[in-house]
């Protein structure tokens, strides 16, 4: 019989892992929703966000949780440049162009990061390490509670932006019907660059939270999370932000549950088993629409 307290801990670690996935997958889905481009290099933005966080942390000694805003701002800029120089010229051409362009970007970003920061594994320490919040018989490390709160705050901010602002509404309109949006006077190219930048900023936030939680990182760290983020958005439904959130949580919890009940080697496999099952039962994903 499994101890209930142990299950709660596994759930907690699953939600924590889910937070990283949610931010990464939501950004990816925002980009796909507006531009309909497939960017396999999205994990590299997480990696760059991690390195920017560490660089600013080492140079200034700022609280790494505060650096998340700087990291996101930097990635909005980097994302805008990548969109303008790389993706816009091939927009509307073959999907294969997008795929091979993004694979090329993976190598460019990885090798660029290795040249700038070196390719050794690195890690940093949170200023709150060792501080715990007692919940029942379980002492929750404060860092992970903060990570969950920060993730929720970012998602709420994104929701308010998309629902309550004019630009957000224009972005949603572009996502729903690009030609229709153009006909009513929305500058869809501006929406492209903005959605790409925001998507990269969300990946940067995931990168910051990754390093603050004490996980090691190097220039090659982004590939596996990116593959999982793709699986999450397919699971949740392409273009669906609620789908990315629910999918991210499902993956985080399922991975950690599998690691406990089946063994650590099943941690990655379970994600794709779930994906296959969902696609067989509901090919559009949990929140996807068949006409998209």
């Amino acid at each position: 019989m499994v101890d209930f307290g142990i299950l709660l801990q596994i759930l907690f670690w699953g939600i924590y892992a889910g937070c990283i996935y949610i931010l990464l997958a939501t950004g990816l889905n925002l980009i796909f929703g507006v531009m309909k481009v497939v960017n396999f290099a999205h994990g590299e933005f997480l990696m760059i966000g991690a390195y920017i966080t560490v660089t600013i942390f080492v140079l200034t000694g700022f609280n790494p949780y505060c650096i998340i805003l700087l990291s996101m701002l930097a990635l909005i800029g980097i994302g805008a440049v990548v969109e303008r120089l790389c993706f816009r010229p091939i927009l509307g051409t073959s999907k294969l162009n997008e795929i091979f362009l993004s694979i090329g970007l993976i190598y460019i970003f990885q090798n660029g990061a290795a040249m700038i920061w070196g390719d050794e594994w690195q890690s940093i320490r949170s200023p709150y390490q060792g501080i715990t919040v007692p919940v029942g018989s379980f002492n929750l490390p404060l860092d992970y509670v903060i990570i969950m709160v920060v993730t929720a705050a970012i998602l709420v901010a994104l929701y308010l932006f998309l629902k309550k602002t004019r630009t957000g509404r224009e972005m949603r309109a572009t996502s729903q019907n690009r030609k229709g949006a153009m006909l009513v006077g929305i500058n869809v190219e501006r929406m492209d660059i903005l959605s790409f930048g925001i998507g990269c900023a969300l990946a940067a936030a995931a990168g910051t939270l990754w390093v603050v939680s004490g996980q090691v990182f190097n220039p090659y760290m982004g590939s596996i999370p990116a593959v999982k983020a793709f699986a999450i958005i397919i699971l949740g439904g392409l273009g669906s932000i609620p789908g990315a959130i629910i999918g991210g949580l499902i993956y985080g919890i399922a991975e950690n549950g599998a690691a406990y009940f089946l063994g650590g080697v099943w941690k990655d496999a379970i994600s794709f088993i779930i994906l296959i099952i969902v696609l067989v039962v509901r090919p559009t994903g949990l929140f996807g629409e068949s006409g998209e």
């Binding site: 101890d3 142990i6 801990q9 596994i10 670690w13 699953g14 924590y16 892992a17 796909f32 309909k36 497939v38 396999f40 999907k95 294969l96 795929i99 694979i103 290795a114 390719d119 050794e120 594994w121 690195q122 890690s123 320490r125 390490q129 060792g130 002492n139 490390p141 992970y144 004490g214 996980q215 090691v216 990182f217 190097n218 090659y220 760290m221 596996i224 593959v227 793709f230 397919i234 439904g237 392409l238 273009g239 950690n256 690691a259 406990y260 063994g263 650590g264 080697v265 941690k267 990655d268 696609l279 090919p283 559009t284 994903g285 996807g288 629409e289 068949s290 006409g291 998209e292």
Partner: protein
């Protein structure tokens, strides 16, 4: 939407297929012995990818050895032959099996090396052994520790020589140390009877390396009828960075100590997450490849009290004749690269010396002659402690025999990192093993 999903799935499958392809290889021409102008030594190391930290150390150490040998005029071919320099050529295995196959093929067919040195991940090294067997190139493996490397029977391994302890040795030494040193110390702390079973947990990388350690631990306990119970055996994927769930399961098993079969980029997060996030305040034992400057840096204060099985450390050396040799190597490395060598670097440094010695003894670059020279090799130990004080390979599986030791880490407030002291065996130790004040033993 279905179109998009289909494109993504097809692209992923295509990428996997392309990555799985291997190059066709052709038999290279042999370099005539009469025209030997240099000895070409190929070094296979992980310069990129997850194992790049260790791989760079191996490659840089090899260059230190080559510099030293060439500074003395090179290696003499035969008893009265000319002295020729050695030339190193690196092949990056990219920390992947496919990368290893490309690197080995390029070094053999394009660069036409006379002998190979290196190899870190056992899984990666195993993947290109077929190429080594096909071309019959002598290969001194200095990092891949699975005994399978020279024990496998599906291909010809007669040209492969193993110059690093195998996972069998790791497991045997570490479990013996637990039985002879940690178990009595825990019993003393608990005022428990001498026959109290010691509760050991194992966290292992799910590869040939990790499973090799797991098998060695199980076999050592069973074969020697040790009073040690394995209360938890958790596997994890190579390159994993989040171990909290496995550590939660490990803690639930109430271990007296946890043995980690992990690489440094895994071992440091495991110990940090265990002590900081899970509250698992126990003794962690790591295998020798963790004795690496980056490992100490990543561990910070959480490494306090941990144990590393070792044979070469950046920060300590055994008492005796090897201390000066190790110090000289560390200083040369530091002068050239501005940092300290690790254990895989040390064995690769020795691997270049062994390769040079074998080529010298063979008197030519004929690969069969070099292989025979390796079979017959008996040269003085270089910087690591060898059984009998000399380097030679066993007749059955071509493995050199090391003397290993156990280090315990103590936190240095000034450095903000831990530093090791040798605590076992008695002839090498500089201090005694102690249980930290915060240590919490397990319970049934």
């Amino acid at each position: 939407m279905r179109y998009s999903v289909l494109i993504i799935v097809v692209a992923l499958i295509a990428a996997a297929l392309v990555a799985g392809c291997t190059q066709q290889v052709q038999q290279p021409a042999q370099t005539p012995a009469s025209s030997v102008g240099e000895i070409k030594i190929g070094v296979i190391a992980s310069l990129t990818g997850p194992a790049s930290n260790v791989g760079k150390n191996m490659w840089q150490s090899a260059q230190v050895a080559a510099d030293e040998i060439n500074a003395k005029g090179g290696i003499q071919l035969g008893a009265s032959g000319p002295k020729v320099p050695i030339k190193l050529i690196v092949g990056d295995d990219e920390s992947t099996q496919q990368g290893g196959q490309k690197a080995a093929t390029k070094l053999i067919t394009d660069d036409k090396v006379d002998i190979l040195v290196g190899g870190y991940s056992s899984a990666v090294t195993s993947a290109y052994q077929q190429i080594i067997a096909e071309y019959k190139v002598p290969y001194i493996v200095t990092g891949a520790s699975s005994p399978v490397i020279t024990h496998r029977t599906d291909i010809d391994t007669s040209y492969v020589f193993h110059h690093c302890p195998t996972t069998d040795s790791y497991g045997q030494y570490t479990v013996t140390f637990i039985d002879q040193v940690i178990r009595p110390a825990v019993n003393k702390k608990l005022n428990a009877a001498a026959d109290r079973p010691f509760r050991l947990a194992l966290l292992y990388q799910d590869t040939a390396f990790g499973k090799g350690v797991q098998a060695a631990v199980n076999d050592t306990i069973t074969n020697n009828k040790l009073n040690i119970v394995l209360v938890s055996q958790q596997g994890f994927k190579m390159g994993e960075s989040d171990f909290r769930t496995q550590l939660t399961a490990t803690r639930a098993a109430n271990p007296d100590a946890v043995y980690l079969a992990a690489f440094p980029n895994e071992g440091a997060p495991i110990i940090t997450q265990a002590r900081r996030d899970i509250g698992l305040n126990t003794i962690f034992l790591s295998v020798e490849n963790n004795d690496n400057a980056q490992f100490y840096k990543d561990l910070g204060q959480y490494g306090e009290g941990s144990i590393i099985e070792s044979r070469f450390s950046p920060y300590t050396a055994p008492v005796g004749i090897l201390a000066d040799a190790q110090s000289k190597f560390k200083n040369s490395y530091n002068a050239k690269w501005g940092t300290f060598p690790d254990m895989m670097g040390a064995s690769t440094y020795e691997g270049v010396y062994i390769a040079a010695q074998a080529a010298g003894n063979a008197g030519s670059t004929d690969k069969a002659a070099i292989k025979q020279a390796l079979v017959d090799l008996n040269m003085p130990q270089v910087i690591e402690a060898m059984k009998g004080g000399s380097i030679s390979f066993t007749k059955d599986f071509r493995e050199s025999q090391f003397d290993l030791w156990m280090e315990q880490l103590a936190f240095n407030q000034t450095l903000g990192e831990t530093r090791p002291d040798i605590v076992w065996p008695d002839n090498l130790k500089v201090t005694d093993f102690t249980l930290p004040s915060w240590y919490q033993p397990g319970s049934a």
